[in-house]
């Protein structure tokens, strides 16, 4: 028995919100204060890596279409890669700052996968609208971690990065399977439920 799709979205929204709030806290208080407790520097990259691992069951169990399977699989891989690279950097295992480019890569892959695997139009239903919005947020948002790779100390970029991730989590929380968007619901989508 599989959980409803939106429940899986909400579970991952909770993890992403936690990552966003950690990043926002770090941006507000500064890296030196944030890292006064040694475990804190591992917190958000660890959550990101863990979510990557947890996306594999989503990939394996939600096989209602090939494109969904590939989208979930690509998220699992890029999240493990980006979270793992960040952990490697903070741990001192990796040294090249170019590893931070895994984040814009993860954003770009995630954005394209969101847009490509959602085959309904923007105003078909709320979930379709949010999938398009999430896709474009990730695609355009990829510019922020890209800039951060060159300006890692920029408080403005760090804040933008954190807020983008918080916004993504809010979008995932508002995602529901068949629900209207701005009062509109395509008759093809069927009656609203849940």
């Amino acid at each position: 028995m599989l959980p409803h799709a939106e429940m899986v979205h909400w579970a991952f929204a909770a993890g992403i919100l936690l990552v966003g709030l950690c990043l926002l806290s770090e941006a507000i208080v500064g890296q030196e204060v944030w890292q006064m407790r040694p475990w804190r520097k591992y917190l958000w990259p660890g959550i990101a890596f863990g979510m990557g691992v947890l996306l594999w069951p989503v990939m394996a169990f939600f096989t209602n279409s090939s494109i969904h399977m590939y989208a979930h699989g690509s998220w699992a891989e890029v999240l493990m890669l980006a979270g793992g690279a960040e952990l490697g950097l903070v741990r001192g295992r990796l040294h090249s700052p170019l590893w931070r480019l895994t984040w814009p890569l993860a954003f770009a892959v995630t954005g394209i996968a969101f847009i490509v695997h959602e085959q309904n139009p923007w105003f078909f239903a709320r979930s379709a609208f949010l999938h398009h919005l999430l896709g474009w947020t990730f695609l355009l948002g990829a510019l922020i971690p890209l800039a951060l790779a060159w300006r890692p100390r920029s408080a403005a970029l760090q804040t933008c990065f954190a807020l983008t991730i918080v916004a993504v989590s809010v979008m995932l929380f508002t995602d529901r399977d068949v629900a209207p968007i701005f009062g509109h619901l395509s008759e093809l989508a069927g009656p609203q439920h849940r």
Binding site: N64, I112, G190
Partner: protein
């Protein structure tokens, strides 16, 4: 270039201008059911309204005769009446237009007073292709690299002063094998589904894979995917935290989850199979993976990366290989006897001929290994650097033969063994 970029952006912005994706919720009868009499109707229940096409639902028997009448819409359900069905296995192929002209498709099977065939054996499925052989070979290579690299580290290099750099390289090699296993598993599952669905790639992307996921192969794919994702996470943590103690659970798990291939292959499903054949197949795969992957890792990483460990690693590996070869040969011989009850099957059946090639390659590798075991190992004590370098090349040659064995094994696994002869009447029955 600018035009291409523009087209890409527009395609992403309006992907749904010509498509909207309906999802099949459930079917009547359900996937893979055994019915006592033929259903009067076939029903496809979607999450949204769809439109029917000519031939939206086809019910096909083993020779492709069609029994379904034209389909109609009832709410969000597509229904087709079915002519009376006799005893036998049936394939349902369906397609429907969901919102804005997008075609969604799928396939499933059921049986009337007989078990439903696996969806991979649905009417119209063509069987494995060369691409599928190559993907399975990659899968075997990935498994061998992960299991072999970890086996070498936790068994042959146990207790030795392994340099930190070599330690990391072994973990990276094992991780690379796990990534290859994951990707090859996804590709193998996709190819098997594509064959069952019999759809062009564009339509396959929106094909329903649920019936395939419900097969033994699909379940093995799910379990192995989750298992190797866990192995990958463990290997990553071992690399990140310098925790070599995590390599043992990673080795045990990867060996355990490699059993998914045995659990979903000929030796678990074909007539004559039992839990013994499935276990023998698992032992065969596991031992071969440790042998071939371990040898490759020793040549690639230890021989040239840590020359001070060459002698001891070689001697330890040589001892371990003796046990592994005994397991490979024992399990392989037992399985060959079960699959090919007559000796002449080896040259009269295509499965037997592929098996003969594999046996030939294994014998070649064994002779090479015996040379290393009985000639090279005793001479290692007084060996100079030039001798050791030449031995490195010889070991690389043996590894390549092992890689070739895996290729033939991939073709063999995708081949169909000959049907078993009917059981001879027992003495009591004759009386």
């Amino acid at each position: 270039m600018r035009r291409l970029l523009l087209i890409g952006v527009v395609a992403l912005a309006f992907p749904a201008a010509a498509s909207a994706h309906a999802t099949l919720r459930f079917t009547t009868p359900a996937f893979g059911t055994k019915l006592q009499r033929g259903p009067a109707q076939i029903g496809l229940h979607f999450d949204q309204q769809v439109k029917v096409l000519p031939g939206s639902i086809k019910v096909l028997n083993g020779v492709g005769k069609q029994f379904a009448l034209p389909a109609r819409i009832e709410g969000r359900t597509v229904v087709a009446d079915v002519r009376p069905l006799k005893l036998g296995a049936y394939t349902v192929r369906w397609r429907a237009i969901s919102a804005d002209s997008h075609v969604v498709s799928g396939v499933w099977t059921f049986g009337v007073r007989v078990p439903a065939p696996a969806v991979a054996n649905a009417y119209g499925a063509g069987g494995p292709t060369t691409t599928e052989h190559l993907v399975r070979w990659l899968w075997f290579l990935g498994l061998a690299l992960t299991i072999g690299a970890l086996g070498l580290r936790v068994i042959c290099l146990r207790g030795l002063a392994v340099p930190r750099e070599l330690e990391r390289r072994i973990v990276v090699a094992a991780g690379l094998g796990a990534v290859v296993s994951l990707q090859a598993g996804i590709a193998a599952f996709s190819l098997r589904s594509e064959d069952a669905l019999q759809l062009p790639f564009g339509q396959f992307l929106y094909g329903d894979l649920s019936p395939m996921a419900a097969t033994r192969f699909g379940k093995a794919f799910v379990v192995m995917t989750l298992g190797f994702a866990l192995v990958l996470a463990l290997l990553y943590l071992a690399w990140l935290l310098d925790r070599t103690d995590l390599l043992l659970p990673a080795f045990v798990l990867s060996l355990f989850f490699a059993g998914g291939l045995s659990w979903s292959g000929h030796d678990a499903l074909d007539p004559g199979s039992s839990w013994k054949t499935a276990v023998a197949d698992w032992v065969h795969i596991g031992a071969a993976s440790v042998w071939i992957g371990g040898l490759g890792t020793m040549v690639g990483l230890v021989w040239y990366g840590a020359p001070e460990l060459r002698r001891q690693a070689f001697l330890n590996f040589s001892r371990m290989a003796t046990v592994l070869i005994a397991l490979v040969l024992g399990a392989g011989t037992y399985l060959s006897i079960v699959r090919l009850p007559h000796l002449h099957d080896l040259w009269t059946e295509s499965y037997g001929r592929v098996l003969l090639i594999k046996i030939g390659l294994v014998c070649f590798a064994l002779l090479w290994g015996a040379f290393h075991h009985f000639v090279v190992a005793p001479a290692l004590e007084r060996a100079d650097t030039g001798f050791l370098t030449r031995i490195g090349r010889s070991l690389a040659g043996e590894s390549l033969v092992g890689v070739a064995v895996l290729l033939v094994a991939a073709v063999l696994v995708d081949s169909k063994p000959p049907p078993r002869p009917a059981n001879a009447p027992t003495v009591q029955a004759v009386r």
